[in-house]
Protein backbone atom coordinates (compact mmCIF):
# COMPACT_ATOMS: atom_id res chain seq x y z
CA UNK A 1 0.00 0.00 0.00
CA UNK A 2 1.14 3.54 -0.73
CA UNK A 3 1.14 6.01 2.13
CA UNK A 4 -1.10 8.25 0.06
CA UNK A 5 -2.92 7.32 -3.14
CA UNK A 6 -1.09 8.08 -6.39
CA UNK A 7 -2.51 9.09 -9.74
CA UNK A 8 -1.88 6.79 -12.68
CA UNK A 9 -2.62 7.40 -16.37
CA UNK A 10 -3.74 4.05 -17.58
CA UNK A 11 -4.11 2.68 -21.08
CA UNK A 12 -5.59 -0.65 -22.14
CA UNK A 13 -5.11 -2.72 -25.26
CA UNK A 14 -7.01 -5.50 -26.96
CA UNK A 15 -9.17 -7.75 -24.79
CA UNK A 16 -8.54 -5.61 -21.70
CA UNK A 17 -9.93 -2.58 -23.44
CA UNK A 18 -12.96 -4.65 -24.50
CA UNK A 19 -13.51 -5.80 -20.93
CA UNK A 20 -12.86 -2.39 -19.33
CA UNK A 21 -14.96 -0.60 -21.95
CA UNK A 22 -12.56 2.34 -22.32
CA UNK A 23 -9.16 2.79 -24.00
CA UNK A 24 -7.68 4.90 -21.24
CA UNK A 25 -8.47 6.46 -17.89
CA UNK A 26 -6.87 8.39 -15.04
CA UNK A 27 -7.24 6.80 -11.66
CA UNK A 28 -6.15 7.13 -8.11
CA UNK A 29 -4.77 4.02 -6.44
CA UNK A 30 -3.04 2.68 -3.36
CA UNK A 31 -1.32 -0.01 -5.42
CA UNK A 32 2.47 0.11 -5.36
CA UNK A 33 3.15 -2.15 -8.36
CA UNK A 34 1.56 -2.84 -11.76
CA UNK A 35 0.77 -6.33 -10.46
CA UNK A 36 -1.25 -4.99 -7.53
CA UNK A 37 -2.93 -2.40 -9.72
CA UNK A 38 -3.95 -5.02 -12.29
CA UNK A 39 -5.32 -7.34 -9.63
CA UNK A 40 -7.36 -4.51 -8.17
CA UNK A 41 -8.79 -3.69 -11.61
CA UNK A 42 -9.29 -7.35 -12.53
CA UNK A 43 -11.51 -7.81 -9.49
CA UNK A 44 -13.55 -4.71 -10.33
CA UNK A 45 -13.96 -5.27 -14.07
CA UNK A 46 -13.84 -9.07 -14.28
CA UNK A 47 -10.73 -9.24 -16.46
CA UNK A 48 -10.37 -12.82 -17.62
CA UNK A 49 -6.60 -12.85 -18.07
CA UNK A 50 -4.53 -13.76 -15.04
CA UNK A 51 -1.92 -11.15 -14.14
CA UNK A 52 0.99 -13.37 -15.16
CA UNK A 53 -0.35 -13.52 -18.72
CA UNK A 54 -0.14 -9.80 -19.45
CA UNK A 55 2.68 -7.44 -20.35
CA UNK A 56 3.09 -4.02 -18.78
CA UNK A 57 4.85 -0.85 -19.86
CA UNK A 58 5.54 2.33 -17.91
CA UNK A 59 6.03 5.20 -20.31
CA UNK A 60 7.51 3.56 -23.39
CA UNK A 61 9.51 0.93 -21.50
CA UNK A 62 8.51 -2.63 -20.92
CA UNK A 63 8.81 -3.32 -17.15
CA UNK A 64 8.42 -6.18 -14.70
CA UNK A 65 5.07 -6.60 -12.93
CA UNK A 66 6.71 -5.81 -9.59
CA UNK A 67 8.33 -2.52 -10.60
CA UNK A 68 7.34 0.32 -8.22
CA UNK A 69 4.71 2.75 -9.37
CA UNK A 70 5.19 6.51 -9.02
CA UNK A 71 2.69 9.30 -9.00
CA UNK A 72 1.89 10.32 -12.59
CA UNK A 73 3.18 7.14 -14.26
CA UNK A 74 1.75 6.28 -17.69
CA UNK A 75 0.94 2.61 -17.38
CA UNK A 76 -0.11 0.38 -20.28
CA UNK A 77 -1.47 -3.12 -19.83
CA UNK A 78 -0.81 -5.22 -22.92
CA UNK A 79 -2.44 -8.63 -23.31
CA UNK A 80 -1.11 -11.06 -25.89
CA UNK A 81 -3.24 -11.37 -29.03
CA UNK A 82 -3.29 -14.10 -31.63
CA UNK A 83 -5.46 -13.04 -34.57
CA UNK A 84 -3.99 -13.22 -38.04
Amino acid sequence: MQDTPITINLRYFAVLRDQRGVADEVLSTDATTPRALYQELAATYNFTLPVDRIGVAIGDEFVALDQSLKNGDNVTFIPPVAGG
Binding site: F13, A14, V15, D18, A23, T48, L49, P50, D52, R53, I54, G55, A57, D60, E61, F62, A64, T76, I78, P79, P80, V81, A82, G83, G84
Partner: protein, 509 residues
Amino acid sequence: MTQFAISTEIIDPYTLAQAMQHPVAGACVTFEGRVRDHNDGYGVQSLSYQVFHALAVKEGQKILTEAKEKFALIDAQAVHREGDLAIGACAVWVGVLAPHRTEAFAACRYIIDAIKHRLPIWKKEFYTDGRVEWVNCQHHDHTHDHSCSLNEQELYVRQTRLPEIGAEGQARLKAARVLVVGAGGLGSAALSVLAAAGIGVIGIVEHDRLEASNLHRQMLYSAEDVGKSKVGLAAVRLHALNPFVKIELHAVRATAENVQSLFASYDLVLDCTDNFTTKYLLNDAAILFSKPVIHASLHRFEGQMLMVDPSGEGCLRCFWPEPPAAGLVGDCAEIGVLGSIPAIFGALQAHQAIQHFLGLNKAAAETLFLFDVRSLTSRHIKRHRRDDCPLCGDKPSITQVSDFALSPYEITVQSDDTRDNLLRRYQWVDVREEEERYALPLPEAEHLPFSGLEDAPFSWPLDAPLLIICARGQRSRIAAQKLRAKGYMAYSLKDGIGQLPSSSMKRAG
Protein backbone atom coordinates in the same frame (compact mmCIF):
# COMPACT_ATOMS: atom_id res chain seq x y z
CA MET B 1 -2.81 -26.91 -86.35
CA THR B 2 -0.11 -26.86 -83.70
CA GLN B 3 -1.89 -26.57 -80.39
CA PHE B 4 -1.19 -26.74 -76.69
CA ALA B 5 -4.08 -27.41 -74.31
CA ILE B 6 -4.78 -27.76 -70.61
CA SER B 7 -7.44 -30.36 -69.92
CA THR B 8 -9.56 -31.14 -66.88
CA GLU B 9 -10.83 -34.25 -68.72
CA ILE B 10 -9.09 -37.60 -69.05
CA ILE B 11 -6.46 -37.58 -71.80
CA ASP B 12 -7.08 -40.31 -74.39
CA PRO B 13 -3.68 -40.94 -76.06
CA TYR B 14 -5.09 -43.26 -78.69
CA THR B 15 -7.58 -40.76 -80.12
CA LEU B 16 -4.98 -37.98 -80.01
CA ALA B 17 -2.42 -40.10 -81.87
CA GLN B 18 -4.97 -41.15 -84.51
CA ALA B 19 -5.66 -37.49 -85.26
CA MET B 20 -1.98 -36.90 -86.13
CA GLN B 21 -2.19 -37.52 -89.88
CA HIS B 22 -0.31 -36.01 -92.83
CA PRO B 23 0.68 -37.51 -96.21
CA VAL B 24 4.34 -36.34 -96.06
CA ALA B 25 4.86 -37.47 -92.46
CA GLY B 26 7.20 -40.44 -92.33
CA ALA B 27 7.37 -40.42 -88.53
CA CYS B 28 4.93 -39.89 -85.70
CA VAL B 29 6.40 -39.91 -82.19
CA THR B 30 4.16 -39.61 -79.17
CA PHE B 31 4.97 -39.41 -75.46
CA GLU B 32 2.75 -40.09 -72.48
CA GLY B 33 3.70 -38.90 -68.99
CA ARG B 34 1.86 -40.99 -66.40
CA VAL B 35 1.26 -40.74 -62.67
CA ARG B 36 3.60 -43.15 -60.92
CA ASP B 37 3.14 -44.62 -57.48
CA HIS B 38 6.30 -43.23 -55.89
CA ASN B 39 8.41 -40.09 -55.72
CA ASP B 40 11.68 -39.60 -53.90
CA GLY B 41 11.30 -42.95 -52.18
CA TYR B 42 7.77 -42.25 -50.91
CA GLY B 43 4.65 -44.08 -52.01
CA VAL B 44 2.24 -41.83 -53.91
CA GLN B 45 -1.50 -42.51 -53.82
CA SER B 46 -2.76 -39.85 -56.21
CA LEU B 47 -1.93 -36.32 -57.22
CA SER B 48 -3.51 -33.08 -58.22
CA TYR B 49 -2.23 -30.48 -60.70
CA GLN B 50 -2.82 -26.78 -60.32
CA VAL B 51 -2.18 -24.67 -63.39
CA PHE B 52 -1.73 -20.95 -63.92
CA HIS B 53 -3.85 -20.98 -67.05
CA ALA B 54 -3.15 -17.87 -69.05
CA LEU B 55 0.59 -18.22 -68.73
CA ALA B 56 0.70 -22.00 -69.15
CA VAL B 57 -1.28 -22.00 -72.40
CA LYS B 58 0.72 -19.12 -73.84
CA GLU B 59 4.02 -20.68 -72.88
CA GLY B 60 2.96 -24.17 -74.03
CA GLN B 61 1.99 -22.75 -77.40
CA LYS B 62 5.36 -21.03 -77.61
CA ILE B 63 7.20 -24.29 -76.90
CA LEU B 64 5.35 -26.06 -79.71
CA THR B 65 6.03 -23.25 -82.16
CA GLU B 66 9.72 -23.25 -81.23
CA ALA B 67 9.96 -27.01 -81.70
CA LYS B 68 8.17 -26.85 -85.02
CA GLU B 69 10.67 -24.33 -86.35
CA LYS B 70 13.73 -25.91 -84.79
CA PHE B 71 13.04 -29.44 -86.04
CA ALA B 72 11.07 -28.60 -89.25
CA LEU B 73 8.03 -30.48 -87.94
CA ILE B 74 4.82 -30.95 -89.85
CA ASP B 75 2.75 -30.80 -86.68
CA ALA B 76 3.14 -30.75 -82.92
CA GLN B 77 0.43 -31.15 -80.27
CA ALA B 78 0.49 -31.35 -76.50
CA VAL B 79 -2.04 -31.61 -73.67
CA HIS B 80 -1.41 -31.25 -69.92
CA ARG B 81 -3.89 -32.34 -67.28
CA GLU B 82 -5.26 -30.21 -64.49
CA GLY B 83 -7.05 -31.45 -61.36
CA ASP B 84 -7.03 -34.80 -59.57
CA LEU B 85 -5.33 -37.83 -61.13
CA ALA B 86 -5.03 -41.45 -60.03
CA ILE B 87 -1.98 -43.70 -60.38
CA GLY B 88 -1.49 -44.71 -64.02
CA ALA B 89 -3.46 -41.79 -65.46
CA CYS B 90 -2.00 -39.81 -68.33
CA ALA B 91 -0.77 -36.47 -66.98
CA VAL B 92 0.76 -35.06 -70.13
CA TRP B 93 0.71 -36.07 -73.78
CA VAL B 94 2.95 -34.92 -76.65
CA GLY B 95 2.71 -35.87 -80.32
CA VAL B 96 4.86 -34.75 -83.24
CA LEU B 97 4.79 -35.42 -86.99
CA ALA B 98 7.96 -35.08 -89.06
CA PRO B 99 9.24 -36.36 -92.39
CA HIS B 100 11.88 -38.52 -90.62
CA ARG B 101 12.26 -40.28 -87.26
CA THR B 102 15.42 -38.44 -86.09
CA GLU B 103 13.69 -35.05 -85.95
CA ALA B 104 10.50 -36.59 -84.60
CA PHE B 105 12.25 -38.22 -81.62
CA ALA B 106 14.36 -35.15 -80.89
CA ALA B 107 11.41 -32.77 -81.11
CA CYS B 108 9.21 -34.88 -78.85
CA ARG B 109 11.99 -34.96 -76.27
CA TYR B 110 12.54 -31.21 -76.59
CA ILE B 111 8.85 -30.47 -76.04
CA ILE B 112 8.35 -32.65 -72.98
CA ASP B 113 11.53 -31.29 -71.36
CA ALA B 114 10.46 -27.71 -72.04
CA ILE B 115 6.96 -28.39 -70.65
CA LYS B 116 8.51 -29.74 -67.45
CA HIS B 117 10.87 -26.79 -67.15
CA ARG B 118 8.86 -23.83 -68.21
CA LEU B 119 5.18 -24.21 -67.46
CA PRO B 120 3.75 -22.72 -64.25
CA ILE B 121 2.22 -25.95 -63.02
CA TRP B 122 2.25 -27.23 -59.45
CA LYS B 123 1.75 -30.81 -58.44
CA LYS B 124 0.24 -31.85 -55.12
CA GLU B 125 1.23 -35.39 -54.18
CA PHE B 126 -0.82 -37.48 -51.75
CA TYR B 127 1.52 -40.02 -50.20
CA THR B 128 0.51 -43.45 -48.99
CA ASP B 129 1.63 -42.50 -45.45
CA GLY B 130 -0.97 -39.73 -45.33
CA ARG B 131 1.33 -36.80 -45.98
CA VAL B 132 0.60 -34.27 -48.69
CA GLU B 133 3.26 -32.15 -50.41
CA TRP B 134 3.22 -29.55 -53.14
CA VAL B 135 5.93 -30.05 -55.68
CA ASN B 136 6.79 -27.29 -58.05
CA CYS B 137 6.88 -28.81 -61.53
CA GLN B 138 8.63 -25.76 -62.84
CA HIS B 139 12.37 -25.63 -62.51
CA HIS B 140 12.59 -21.84 -62.51
CA ASP B 141 15.51 -21.81 -64.84
CA HIS B 142 15.05 -18.27 -66.02
CA THR B 143 17.73 -18.50 -68.67
CA HIS B 144 15.21 -20.67 -70.52
CA ASP B 145 12.14 -18.93 -69.23
CA HIS B 146 10.67 -16.91 -72.05
CA SER B 147 7.34 -16.62 -70.28
CA CYS B 148 8.19 -13.12 -69.31
CA SER B 149 9.68 -10.82 -71.85
CA LEU B 150 10.33 -8.25 -69.11
CA ASN B 151 13.71 -7.31 -67.83
CA GLU B 152 13.55 -8.07 -64.13
CA GLN B 153 15.17 -4.81 -63.09
CA GLU B 154 12.38 -2.85 -64.80
CA LEU B 155 10.02 -4.12 -62.13
CA TYR B 156 11.94 -2.38 -59.39
CA VAL B 157 12.96 0.98 -60.90
CA ARG B 158 10.73 2.98 -58.56
CA GLN B 159 12.19 1.37 -55.47
CA THR B 160 15.83 1.24 -56.61
CA ARG B 161 15.50 4.99 -57.10
CA LEU B 162 15.32 5.28 -53.30
CA PRO B 163 18.83 6.06 -52.06
CA GLU B 164 18.34 3.49 -49.25
CA ILE B 165 17.88 0.72 -51.82
CA GLY B 166 19.63 1.31 -55.15
CA ALA B 167 21.05 -1.56 -57.20
CA GLU B 168 22.98 -2.90 -54.23
CA GLY B 169 19.93 -3.05 -51.96
CA GLN B 170 17.91 -4.70 -54.71
CA ALA B 171 20.63 -7.34 -55.08
CA ARG B 172 20.35 -8.01 -51.34
CA LEU B 173 16.60 -8.51 -51.65
CA LYS B 174 17.17 -10.86 -54.58
CA ALA B 175 19.61 -12.90 -52.48
CA ALA B 176 17.17 -13.07 -49.54
CA ARG B 177 15.16 -16.15 -48.62
CA VAL B 178 12.04 -15.57 -46.52
CA LEU B 179 9.67 -18.14 -45.03
CA VAL B 180 6.08 -16.99 -44.47
CA VAL B 181 4.18 -19.19 -42.03
CA GLY B 182 0.45 -18.81 -42.66
CA ALA B 183 -1.08 -17.59 -45.92
CA GLY B 184 -4.21 -16.09 -44.37
CA GLY B 185 -4.95 -12.42 -43.71
CA LEU B 186 -1.47 -11.37 -42.62
CA GLY B 187 0.18 -13.76 -45.06
CA SER B 188 -1.80 -12.52 -48.08
CA ALA B 189 -0.50 -9.01 -47.60
CA ALA B 190 3.01 -9.98 -46.56
CA LEU B 191 3.48 -12.39 -49.47
CA SER B 192 2.28 -9.87 -52.03
CA VAL B 193 4.64 -7.17 -50.74
CA LEU B 194 7.62 -9.54 -50.55
CA ALA B 195 7.06 -10.97 -54.03
CA ALA B 196 6.49 -7.57 -55.61
CA ALA B 197 9.64 -6.21 -53.95
CA GLY B 198 11.72 -8.96 -55.55
CA ILE B 199 12.69 -11.13 -52.57
CA GLY B 200 14.60 -13.98 -54.26
CA VAL B 201 13.03 -17.01 -52.62
CA ILE B 202 9.74 -17.08 -50.71
CA GLY B 203 8.61 -20.18 -48.84
CA ILE B 204 4.95 -20.56 -47.86
CA VAL B 205 3.74 -22.81 -45.01
CA GLU B 206 -0.03 -23.31 -45.17
CA HIS B 207 -2.19 -26.42 -44.95
CA ASP B 208 -5.72 -24.95 -45.20
CA ARG B 209 -8.18 -24.73 -48.01
CA LEU B 210 -9.80 -21.45 -49.02
CA GLU B 211 -13.16 -20.66 -47.40
CA ALA B 212 -15.64 -18.02 -48.49
CA SER B 213 -15.26 -16.32 -45.11
CA ASN B 214 -11.53 -15.79 -45.81
CA LEU B 215 -12.01 -13.60 -48.86
CA HIS B 216 -12.72 -10.26 -47.14
CA ARG B 217 -9.22 -10.23 -45.67
CA GLN B 218 -7.15 -12.73 -47.67
CA MET B 219 -6.78 -10.72 -50.81
CA LEU B 220 -4.40 -13.11 -52.50
CA TYR B 221 -7.35 -15.31 -53.43
CA SER B 222 -10.40 -15.23 -55.69
CA ALA B 223 -14.02 -16.13 -54.98
CA GLU B 224 -13.91 -18.80 -57.71
CA ASP B 225 -11.18 -20.65 -55.79
CA VAL B 226 -13.18 -21.44 -52.62
CA GLY B 227 -12.45 -25.02 -51.58
CA LYS B 228 -9.01 -25.16 -53.19
CA SER B 229 -5.73 -25.50 -51.35
CA LYS B 230 -4.40 -22.07 -50.39
CA VAL B 231 -0.72 -22.83 -50.81
CA GLY B 232 -1.16 -23.76 -54.48
CA LEU B 233 -3.37 -20.75 -55.13
CA ALA B 234 -0.85 -18.45 -53.46
CA ALA B 235 1.97 -19.85 -55.59
CA VAL B 236 0.03 -19.31 -58.79
CA ARG B 237 -0.93 -15.74 -57.86
CA LEU B 238 2.55 -14.77 -56.71
CA HIS B 239 4.14 -16.26 -59.81
CA ALA B 240 1.78 -14.15 -61.90
CA LEU B 241 2.70 -11.07 -59.88
CA ASN B 242 6.46 -11.58 -60.17
CA PRO B 243 7.71 -14.52 -62.26
CA PHE B 244 11.30 -13.81 -61.16
CA VAL B 245 10.62 -14.83 -57.56
CA LYS B 246 11.06 -18.47 -56.66
CA ILE B 247 8.13 -19.76 -54.64
CA GLU B 248 8.60 -22.83 -52.43
CA LEU B 249 5.52 -24.58 -51.10
CA HIS B 250 5.14 -26.38 -47.78
CA ALA B 251 1.60 -27.74 -47.51
CA VAL B 252 1.96 -28.65 -43.85
CA ARG B 253 1.25 -27.20 -40.45
CA ALA B 254 4.38 -26.00 -38.64
CA THR B 255 5.03 -28.40 -35.76
CA ALA B 256 7.82 -29.14 -33.30
CA GLU B 257 8.80 -32.01 -35.55
CA ASN B 258 9.22 -30.06 -38.79
CA VAL B 259 9.98 -26.49 -37.68
CA GLN B 260 13.76 -26.85 -37.72
CA SER B 261 13.85 -28.24 -41.23
CA LEU B 262 11.29 -25.66 -42.40
CA PHE B 263 13.49 -22.85 -41.02
CA ALA B 264 16.77 -24.32 -42.27
CA SER B 265 17.04 -22.88 -45.75
CA TYR B 266 15.64 -19.40 -45.00
CA ASP B 267 17.22 -16.21 -43.67
CA LEU B 268 14.14 -14.83 -41.96
CA VAL B 269 10.66 -16.02 -40.95
CA LEU B 270 7.36 -14.12 -40.84
CA ASP B 271 4.83 -15.35 -38.29
CA CYS B 272 1.52 -14.77 -40.08
CA THR B 273 -0.33 -17.39 -38.05
CA ASP B 274 -3.48 -16.90 -36.04
CA ASN B 275 -2.98 -19.09 -32.99
CA PHE B 276 -0.82 -19.06 -29.88
CA THR B 277 0.45 -22.61 -30.30
CA THR B 278 2.18 -21.83 -33.58
CA LYS B 279 3.24 -18.33 -32.52
CA TYR B 280 5.05 -19.71 -29.47
CA LEU B 281 6.50 -22.56 -31.50
CA LEU B 282 7.94 -20.07 -34.02
CA ASN B 283 9.19 -17.82 -31.22
CA ASP B 284 10.96 -20.71 -29.52
CA ALA B 285 12.43 -21.89 -32.82
CA ALA B 286 13.73 -18.35 -33.48
CA ILE B 287 15.82 -18.47 -30.31
CA LEU B 288 16.73 -22.16 -30.33
CA PHE B 289 17.67 -22.28 -34.03
CA SER B 290 18.99 -18.72 -34.22
CA LYS B 291 16.69 -17.40 -36.91
CA PRO B 292 14.99 -13.99 -36.84
CA VAL B 293 11.19 -14.14 -36.72
CA ILE B 294 8.83 -11.21 -37.21
CA HIS B 295 5.56 -11.78 -35.36
CA ALA B 296 2.30 -9.94 -35.93
CA SER B 297 -1.01 -10.54 -34.19
CA LEU B 298 -4.37 -8.84 -34.32
CA HIS B 299 -7.30 -8.08 -32.10
CA ARG B 300 -10.36 -6.41 -33.65
CA PHE B 301 -9.11 -3.01 -34.87
CA GLU B 302 -5.62 -3.15 -33.43
CA GLY B 303 -2.51 -5.23 -33.73
CA GLN B 304 0.97 -5.86 -32.45
CA MET B 305 4.25 -6.46 -34.25
CA LEU B 306 7.37 -7.77 -32.58
CA MET B 307 10.60 -8.93 -34.17
CA VAL B 308 12.55 -11.63 -32.40
CA ASP B 309 16.19 -11.34 -33.37
CA PRO B 310 18.21 -14.09 -31.67
CA SER B 311 21.01 -11.61 -31.05
CA GLY B 312 18.65 -8.83 -30.02
CA GLU B 313 16.38 -7.73 -27.21
CA GLY B 314 14.55 -10.81 -26.13
CA CYS B 315 11.54 -12.70 -27.40
CA LEU B 316 7.80 -13.10 -27.11
CA ARG B 317 8.26 -14.97 -23.82
CA CYS B 318 10.13 -12.00 -22.29
CA PHE B 319 6.85 -10.16 -22.63
CA TRP B 320 4.42 -13.00 -22.12
CA PRO B 321 6.24 -16.02 -20.68
CA GLU B 322 3.34 -18.29 -21.52
CA PRO B 323 0.31 -17.94 -23.76
CA PRO B 324 -3.07 -17.53 -22.09
CA ALA B 325 -5.46 -20.44 -21.81
CA ALA B 326 -7.75 -21.00 -24.77
CA GLY B 327 -10.74 -18.76 -25.11
CA LEU B 328 -9.47 -15.93 -22.89
CA VAL B 329 -8.49 -13.48 -25.61
CA GLY B 330 -10.50 -14.68 -28.60
CA ASP B 331 -9.50 -15.17 -32.23
CA CYS B 332 -10.64 -13.77 -35.57
CA ALA B 333 -13.28 -16.46 -35.94
CA GLU B 334 -14.81 -15.68 -32.54
CA ILE B 335 -14.52 -11.93 -32.24
CA GLY B 336 -14.36 -10.81 -35.85
CA VAL B 337 -11.81 -8.89 -37.87
CA LEU B 338 -11.92 -6.26 -40.59
CA GLY B 339 -9.89 -7.02 -43.73
CA SER B 340 -7.86 -3.83 -43.58
CA ILE B 341 -6.23 -4.75 -40.25
CA PRO B 342 -4.35 -7.88 -41.38
CA ALA B 343 -3.58 -6.11 -44.68
CA ILE B 344 -1.88 -3.30 -42.74
CA PHE B 345 0.02 -5.58 -40.38
CA GLY B 346 1.02 -8.12 -43.04
CA ALA B 347 2.42 -5.29 -45.15
CA LEU B 348 4.24 -3.96 -42.06
CA GLN B 349 5.83 -7.36 -41.44
CA ALA B 350 7.02 -7.54 -45.03
CA HIS B 351 8.31 -3.99 -44.73
CA GLN B 352 10.20 -4.88 -41.57
CA ALA B 353 11.70 -7.88 -43.40
CA ILE B 354 12.85 -5.65 -46.25
CA GLN B 355 14.37 -3.19 -43.76
CA HIS B 356 16.15 -6.10 -42.12
CA PHE B 357 17.82 -7.12 -45.39
CA LEU B 358 18.69 -3.52 -46.21
CA GLY B 359 20.05 -2.90 -42.72
CA LEU B 360 17.68 0.03 -42.15
CA ASN B 361 16.48 1.23 -38.76
CA LYS B 362 17.59 -1.71 -36.67
CA ALA B 363 16.15 -0.08 -33.55
CA ALA B 364 12.64 -0.80 -34.83
CA ALA B 365 13.37 -4.46 -34.25
CA GLU B 366 13.84 -3.83 -30.56
CA THR B 367 10.35 -2.61 -29.81
CA LEU B 368 6.89 -3.97 -29.47
CA PHE B 369 4.85 -1.92 -31.92
CA LEU B 370 1.21 -1.43 -31.02
CA PHE B 371 -1.15 0.22 -33.49
CA ASP B 372 -4.81 0.93 -32.92
CA VAL B 373 -6.01 1.50 -36.45
CA ARG B 374 -9.44 2.76 -35.39
CA SER B 375 -8.03 5.78 -33.55
CA LEU B 376 -4.76 5.88 -35.55
CA THR B 377 -2.75 5.82 -32.34
CA SER B 378 0.45 3.86 -32.09
CA ARG B 379 2.92 3.03 -29.33
CA HIS B 380 6.46 1.72 -29.35
CA ILE B 381 7.33 -0.20 -26.23
CA LYS B 382 11.07 -0.64 -25.74
CA ARG B 383 11.91 -4.23 -25.05
CA HIS B 384 14.73 -5.79 -23.10
CA ARG B 385 15.80 -9.36 -22.87
CA ARG B 386 14.54 -10.59 -19.51
CA ASP B 387 17.07 -12.37 -17.30
CA ASP B 388 14.34 -14.68 -16.07
CA CYS B 389 12.83 -15.40 -19.50
CA PRO B 390 12.11 -19.14 -19.65
CA LEU B 391 13.49 -19.23 -23.19
CA CYS B 392 16.19 -16.61 -23.73
CA GLY B 393 16.97 -15.76 -20.09
CA ASP B 394 20.06 -16.66 -18.10
CA LYS B 395 18.73 -20.03 -16.96
CA PRO B 396 16.30 -21.13 -19.63
CA SER B 397 13.84 -23.90 -18.78
CA ILE B 398 12.76 -24.27 -22.41
CA THR B 399 15.52 -25.99 -24.33
CA GLN B 400 13.61 -27.63 -27.15
CA VAL B 401 10.63 -26.80 -29.33
CA SER B 402 7.28 -28.25 -28.40
CA ASP B 403 3.73 -28.31 -29.71
CA PHE B 404 2.39 -27.76 -26.23
CA ALA B 405 2.99 -24.04 -25.89
CA LEU B 406 -0.60 -23.59 -24.82
CA SER B 407 -0.55 -23.91 -21.13
CA PRO B 408 -2.09 -25.27 -19.13
CA TYR B 409 -3.22 -27.90 -21.52
CA GLU B 410 -4.76 -29.77 -18.65
CA ILE B 411 -8.09 -28.18 -17.85
CA THR B 412 -9.11 -27.99 -14.22
CA VAL B 413 -12.83 -27.49 -13.80
CA GLN B 414 -13.45 -24.21 -11.95
CA SER B 415 -16.11 -23.70 -9.33
CA ASP B 416 -18.16 -21.46 -11.60
CA ASP B 417 -17.93 -23.76 -14.64
CA THR B 418 -21.16 -25.34 -15.75
CA ARG B 419 -21.67 -28.25 -18.08
CA ASP B 420 -23.23 -25.87 -20.58
CA ASN B 421 -20.36 -23.43 -20.68
CA LEU B 422 -17.81 -26.24 -20.97
CA LEU B 423 -19.84 -27.57 -23.89
CA ARG B 424 -19.88 -24.14 -25.46
CA ARG B 425 -16.12 -23.73 -25.12
CA TYR B 426 -15.02 -27.22 -26.15
CA GLN B 427 -15.95 -30.10 -28.37
CA TRP B 428 -15.98 -32.99 -25.89
CA VAL B 429 -14.16 -36.15 -26.86
CA ASP B 430 -14.54 -39.28 -24.73
CA VAL B 431 -11.53 -41.58 -25.07
CA ARG B 432 -12.84 -44.30 -22.71
CA GLU B 433 -13.49 -47.76 -24.06
CA GLU B 434 -16.95 -49.05 -24.95
CA GLU B 435 -17.60 -50.91 -21.70
CA GLU B 436 -16.66 -47.90 -19.57
CA ARG B 437 -19.06 -45.75 -21.54
CA TYR B 438 -21.79 -48.27 -20.98
CA ALA B 439 -21.26 -48.12 -17.23
CA LEU B 440 -21.12 -44.31 -17.12
CA PRO B 441 -22.52 -42.73 -20.30
CA LEU B 442 -21.43 -39.32 -21.55
CA PRO B 443 -23.85 -38.58 -24.38
CA GLU B 444 -22.53 -35.03 -25.02
CA ALA B 445 -19.12 -36.31 -26.10
CA GLU B 446 -17.92 -37.78 -29.35
CA HIS B 447 -16.45 -41.24 -28.81
CA LEU B 448 -12.87 -41.93 -29.79
CA PRO B 449 -11.64 -44.95 -27.85
CA PHE B 450 -8.04 -44.61 -26.67
CA SER B 451 -7.20 -48.04 -28.08
CA GLY B 452 -8.08 -46.88 -31.61
CA LEU B 453 -6.59 -43.42 -31.40
CA GLU B 454 -3.76 -44.05 -33.85
CA ASP B 455 -5.93 -44.95 -36.83
CA ALA B 456 -8.98 -42.83 -36.05
CA PRO B 457 -10.13 -40.55 -38.89
CA PHE B 458 -10.32 -37.07 -37.34
CA SER B 459 -12.82 -34.64 -38.74
CA TRP B 460 -12.67 -31.71 -36.31
CA PRO B 461 -11.50 -28.32 -37.48
CA LEU B 462 -7.94 -27.64 -36.29
CA ASP B 463 -8.93 -24.44 -34.52
CA ALA B 464 -11.78 -25.92 -32.47
CA PRO B 465 -10.76 -26.54 -28.85
CA LEU B 466 -11.25 -30.19 -27.87
CA LEU B 467 -11.76 -31.37 -24.32
CA ILE B 468 -10.45 -34.90 -24.01
CA ILE B 469 -12.11 -36.91 -21.26
CA CYS B 470 -11.31 -40.29 -19.71
CA ALA B 471 -11.89 -41.94 -16.33
CA ARG B 472 -9.01 -40.38 -14.37
CA GLY B 473 -7.19 -37.97 -16.65
CA GLN B 474 -4.25 -40.22 -17.57
CA ARG B 475 -5.28 -41.48 -20.97
CA SER B 476 -6.86 -38.11 -21.85
CA ARG B 477 -3.51 -36.46 -21.13
CA ILE B 478 -1.67 -38.75 -23.55
CA ALA B 479 -4.47 -38.47 -26.11
CA ALA B 480 -4.32 -34.65 -25.90
CA GLN B 481 -0.58 -34.76 -26.54
CA LYS B 482 -1.05 -37.01 -29.53
CA LEU B 483 -3.83 -34.86 -30.93
CA ARG B 484 -1.71 -31.75 -30.42
CA ALA B 485 1.08 -33.39 -32.38
CA LYS B 486 -1.42 -33.70 -35.22
CA GLY B 487 -2.22 -30.00 -34.92
CA TYR B 488 -5.43 -30.09 -32.88
CA MET B 489 -6.11 -27.72 -29.99
CA ALA B 490 -6.65 -30.54 -27.54
CA TYR B 491 -6.98 -30.17 -23.76
CA SER B 492 -7.15 -32.91 -21.21
CA LEU B 493 -9.76 -32.85 -18.46
CA LYS B 494 -7.69 -33.08 -15.30
CA ASP B 495 -8.60 -35.99 -13.01
CA GLY B 496 -11.20 -37.32 -15.42
CA ILE B 497 -14.93 -37.57 -15.90
CA GLY B 498 -15.83 -37.23 -12.23
CA GLN B 499 -14.73 -33.58 -12.35
CA LEU B 500 -17.40 -32.55 -14.85
CA PRO B 501 -20.13 -30.40 -13.30
CA SER B 502 -23.53 -32.07 -13.20
CA SER B 503 -25.96 -30.89 -15.86
CA SER B 504 -28.62 -29.14 -13.80
CA MET B 505 -26.70 -27.07 -11.30
CA LYS B 506 -23.37 -25.42 -10.65
CA ARG B 507 -20.75 -27.66 -9.23
CA ALA B 508 -20.11 -26.88 -5.58
CA GLY B 509 -16.57 -25.89 -4.55
